[in-house]
Amino acid sequence: MRKKEQKIVITFRTTAEAIAMETQCQKEGIPGRLIPVPRQISSGCGLSWAMPTDWDGNIGQWMEARGLHWDKFGEYLI
């Protein structure tokens, strides 16, 4: 198993929202990837966006500015 790391995890209400996030992140070179929703978070669709905690920026603001929706987000050891 991989060593657990602290990550920002963002969940979504729908798969469409998750894919929209991935599409935009890839377009703008935002680090991270889609992963299954960690068990600590019990909501949203089955996909979540996991990204490094040291990303230089406010991901919430970044998403809001692009009309991207999320369900929850926080930092988790995953």
């Binding site: 729908t14 929202e17 299954p36 669709c45 089955g46 996909l47």
Partner: protein, 374 residues
Amino acid sequence: MIYLDNAATSCRKPEEVIQAVTDAMRSFGNSGRGAHGASLDASRLIFDTRRLIAELFHAGDPSRVAFTANSTASLNMAIQGLFKPGDHVITTMMEHNSVLRPLYRMEEQGAELTILPADLKGRIRCEDIEKSVKQNTKAVVCTHASNLTGNINDLELIGNICKRNGLLLVVDASQTAGVFDIDMEKTGIHVLCFTGHKGLLGPQGTGGICVREGVSIRPYMVGGSGVKSYLKTQPEEMPEVLEAGTLNGHGIAGLHAALLYLKETGIETIRERELLLMRRFYEGVTDIPGVKVYGDFSEKALLFRAPVVALNIGDYDSGEVADELACSYGIYTRAGATVLLLCIRLLGQWSRGPCVFPCPIIIRKKRLTKPFVL
């Protein structure tokens, strides 16, 4: 084979559509049901298809596009999910059974229905809509174009009437999607139902429903969504609220390729070509003794109508004519009821229906002088 039954389904699909379906069948997992590569590949492509559809119909947020099996499924979803007993709904004689039957069912359950008449050329008068509005009128449900007569409804005008009277506008775009511009925002369409296998040139078993922001449809089908699986109820968010069960990912991959093909070719180019073929066909048959053509072929309508020519020959049964065309000439067309029974009755052809000749759709830029079919 000379295939002239494109109003039922487009037979010749672009090669890239066939390839996309094959590729998807070799690689796709279940979209929205996992975070592994195969599932994500399906989810990504389905999302991009939503984006292309939203762009094509000016539907706004791609999440407002839900995939279904066809227009019938979408129309059932809209009609059964928007109306309740006591609501009054206005529709027209031009409608296909995929509109009328769900409405008749709602009528049985207590909804009120007004079916607007058409004239002898199968045209409705938009002003009749306004005259039919009552206090309990909730919506207008209408087709964009008739697959029998080819007559087109003025959606902008109908949209304005709906706006003035606070009504929902539900449109059946089965015959026009992929050939005519449809702008949900400009025309004020609240719900647009489309199928993927006709003018959009995708595989059968694909279709969808675009629902404008702020409009909520009660799902008639609930089940697996890959989202909020611990809840007892269907998630309320679009598009999952209308997408219970595994999506037709393989078919949607084909639809995706078809949408790219349409974008590259340009629906205007396709429309011009189809209308040209239709006019040529119409001019070729209209003066033949005994041939009776149905629908509006006035000079104005000839410039802007769905490329369909419906006709009868003398007193021959249309089925007999279609059979003779198929067996002796390899010309495949549609005869009989064509599921537009009210319209056929209006045209005085209740017992036999006409033969319908929708013009071919597939063209490639390099083949403009030599169509794919014909």
